[in-house]
């Protein structure tokens, strides 16, 4: 390990990591429960279309919903059991959305689906993309963007670099960390498949220095296969610990010192960025026929009795997962899905774990009390924190005044909503929250204009 050569991006913040409770805990399997809920929209894009009826028996790994469009993906049953309802259910975001509810068969063996390895070399480019969509893969870092969309390259576009994201810069979360320590082989296998399919010339795995055992495990696995993945050179790049390094644009800047131009994608620079979890899930599908029906979830936070890293079937109710971890402290006031910086606050525990759920964190009253708010004194800490080099202080002021259109001129739409500004503000101003309000108002306004024009 060579910390001297470790790179990072400019600006950003250094929140306390809070990872010590779970970073050394091996992954456990979450036991099966009685009931699973699969919202049809648990990925970015169009909701999936159900292909089962209420009352129908389903096997673990069986397709229960087909993609509802190109930017959409497949849903599989996480258990063997019976479809008990096709009805609206609570989504973690608070809305009622159409969902498939499945009752587990208590007598089923719950064997994983017996899939044949798929000869991915024989597939055409479009067939490979379709295969990834059939696996139900989404970005495992939290955004849950359907993975196959990223692998569909426009005509004539080449991928030079495959960037694999092992930063896990959100405090408390250790799921990716444990995956890198426990299954480096699966990650490399996924890399081998994807690098070959995309024709990438180089693979870089970015890992922050606070995970030395993960770097070691990846290096060891890499040494075991000669330092490359199917002939493509792979390198593990240690990165200085900083938030939000796991954001796609920040990771690219940290690794290569280049900025993805505003409005462009990494693809435009010949790069694809994928989470380590997505790589392992890719390997599971092509080698074992295992679709995305379970994922690693870190359960932690001051209000959890027994913090853990769990392999949880998608659709498991949050309440069951927390019960499995010894239940919640009576003082808990906030349960967050995802990380503490960008996660979703849960309105109820009766919502399911989704494909994009990287963590379940329970915070007590003292941790979530709203800070006393003072006037902005223009101290500039938000400006120094913002990885997009925006002026969050001014954006917050404009948002408070309802001057949303003016905010566009201050590049409000470049905001990645990482929350670094709110974290850094000594006056306790909810800066990123104010910017989010403005962004969604601007988006709605654009849609209205479009509708009026067309």
């Amino acid at each position: 390990m060579t910390p001297l050569t470790a790179r990072t991006f400019r600006h950003g913040i250094h929140p306390e990591a809070h990872k010590e409770a779970t970073e050394h805990l091996p992954v456990e399997r979450m036991p099966f429960v009685a009931r699973y809920v699969l919202p049809l929209s648990q990925h970015t894009g169009a909701p999936a279309r159900p292909v089962v009826r209420a009352g129908e028996r389903v096997a673990r790994g069986q397709v229960v919903a087909e993609p509802g469009g190109f930017v959409s993906t497949t849903l599989h049953s996480p258990v063997t059991g019976r479809v008990s309802a096709l009805a609206p259910r609570h989504h973690p975001n608070g809305r009622l959305v159409d969902a498939i509810e499945i009752e587990a068969d208590p007598f089923a063996s719950q064997e994983p689906p017996a899939g044949e390895p798929i000869d991915w070399r024989a597939l055409s480019g479009d067939e490979f993309v379709a295969e990834v969509q059939r696996a139900g893969l989404v970005g495992m870092g939290g955004a849950a963007f359907p993975s196959h969309v990223k692998y569909k390259l426009p005509e004539g576009r080449r991928i030079e670099k495959l960037v694999v994201n092992g930063c896990e810069c959100e405090p408390f979360l250790t799921a990716d960390h444990r995956l890198m320590v426990e299954r480096p082989g699966a990650i490399l296998r996924g890399i081998e498949i994807l690098a070959a399919r995309l024709g990438a010339g180089e693979v870089v795995i970015g890992v922050e220095l606070n995970k030395p055992d993960a770097i070691e495990a990846l290096e060891a696995a890499l040494a075991g296969c000669g330092g490359d993945a199917g002939g493509v050179p792979v390198r593990v790049a240690p990165l200085k610990v900083k938030y939000p390094q796991g954001a796609e644009k920040m990771l690219i800047e940290a690794l290569f010192g280049v900025e993805v131009p505003t409005g462009k994608l990494p693809l435009d620079l010949g790069m694809v960025v994928n989470n380590v979890g997505t790589m392992a899930a890719l390997a599971d599908w092509f080698d074992r026929g295992l679709p995305l029906i379970e994922r690693l979830v870190t359960v932690a936070g001051p209000g959890v009795a027994r913090p853990a890293n769990l392999l949880v079937p998608v659709g498991t109710p949050v309440r069951a997962v927390l019960d499995h971890c010894g239940g919640l402290d009576a003082e808990v006031r906030e349960v967050v899905m995802g990380g503490p910086m960008m996660g979703t606050p849960l309105p109820s525990l009766d919502v399911p774990v989704l494909k994009g759920t990287s963590g379940l964190l329970a915070f007590t009253e003292s941790a979530t009390r709203l800070p006393t708010e003072y006037s902005c004194i223009r101290c500039g800490r938000c400006v120094e924190a913002c990885p997009q080099y925006l002026n969050p202080s001014r954006l917050a002021r404009l948002s408070r005044a309802g001057r949303f259109e003016e905010m566009e001129g201050w590049n409000a739409l470049d905001c990645v909503e990482c929350g670094s500004c709110s974290f850094a503000c000594p006056s306790g101003i909810p800066i990123v929250q104010l910017i989010r309000v403005a962004k969604s108002a601007l988006r709605e306004q654009k849609q209205r204009q479009k509708a009026a024009a067309g």
Partner: protein, 341 residues
């Protein structure tokens, strides 16, 4: 144990915050002012402390009387942010130690009232409130504000401190008035020894004389990241560079850069006044220009202006220019080209 339904509240991410608060930032500056105030006491005695206390009482009183109310209607909601107290202490330290206390009090009221609250309170004012208070006093009582006493030790209290409002000050014995090093330089061509300037054993405003103590307090604040380090660096650097160039051209008629930096209110202004985050720009390039502008104005006023000292007006003028600089020197956003695209 089961996860019983806890009373969940739904707030929006992020759920973590760093520990520093705005009152803590203000407190840091007040702590840094403790040694400066101690130096004022050492050289100018109890009288200097009384002036600081009177200015602070005026500032805090104005904050209480004219500032926003608490929930429920009680006065003094904004006293807790610490900025009103800080304005008072800063103002007191820039006043002559023999100033009548009622004037210092009035300066505090004007600083917070006209310098901050009429603009909408903390964070909304264009000009540094302490300097607005001082400029008010300079305009209202030009003689009293430029009557200096030589350092007299910790026991020093001047009769002039206790003058009644709007009455003529008790006539100060001639022995008790003195000229500041800048006065001596400007009107007498006399240069004060650098060692005296560094220690602070010269006539001047209560808290501005000891270059050493102010510099150390500034370094401590810089280490705590309490302000933008670029501001004092730009102010002191530009004054030193410009003064060095002018001194090199005519060493006989213009003072050395050391004298320029260590005399008058330059260091106090650079460390405690220009760095006020509310009234200085945010964008780094604008900050450099802001500091440079202050430095150039100080040198121009001191060497060729009608007044012996120009730090206050230099900072106030650049306060006014701040928003313009900010607009002109916005940093490039990530993924954009410099010209904006």
């Amino acid at each position: 144990m089961s996860a019983r339904a806890p009373r969940l509240v739904v707030q929006s991410a992020p759920f973590l915050r760093q520990g520093v608060t705005t009152p803590a930032l203000m407190r840091d500056v007040l702590i840094a002012l403790v040694p400066v105030t101690a130096a004022a006491f050492w050289y100018f005695g109890v009288g200097a402390l009384l002036v600081v206390a009177a200015a602070t009482a005026g500032a805090a009183g104005a904050e209480w009387l004219l500032g926003p109310r608490r929930e429920g209607g009680r006065r003094g909601a904004s006293l807790a942010d610490g900025s009103g107290w800080l304005t008072g202490v800063l103002l007191g330290l820039t006043l002559p130690p023999g100033l009548p206390l009622w004037m210092a009090f009035l300066g505090g009221v004007a600083g917070v009232g006209l310098g901050k609250l009429v603009w909408g309170g903390l964070g909304h004012n264009l000009f540094n409130p302490a300097l607005v208070g001082r400029a008010f006093l300079q305009a209202a009582f030009p003689i009293a504000v430029t009557t200096w006493a030589p350092p007299g030790g910790p026991g020093m209290v001047l009769a002039s401190n206790f003058a009644w409002p709007l009455m003529a000050a008790p006539a100060a014995p001639d022995a008790m008035t003195a000229a500041t090093p800048l006065n001596l330089m400007k009107f007498g061509g006399e240069v004060t020894a650098l060692a005296d300037l560094v220690r602070g054993d010269v006539a001047g405003s209560a808290g501005e004389t000891s270059a050493l103590v102010i510099a150390l307090a500034g370094l401590w604040l810089m280490a705590r990241r309490a302000f933008d380090w670029r501001i004092p660096v730009a102010v002191v650097g530009s004054v030193a560079a410009l003064a060095a160039a002018i001194h090199a051209m005519a060493p006989a008629s213009y003072p050395t850069p050391w004298f320029m930096v260590c005399s008058g209110g330059l260091l106090f202004g650079a460390v405690f006044m220009a760095t006020d985050p509310v009234t200085s720009p945010l964008a780094p390039r604008a900050v450099w220009l802001f500091g440079l502008g202050i430095g150039v104005l100080v040198v121009l006023i001191r060497l060729w202006g009608g007044l012996p000292e120009g730090v206050m007006y230099a900072i106030l003028l650049m306060n006014a220019a701040g928003p313009l600089l900010e607009r002109a020197a916005q940093p490039r956003a990530f993924g954009h080209t410099r010209s904006g695209a």
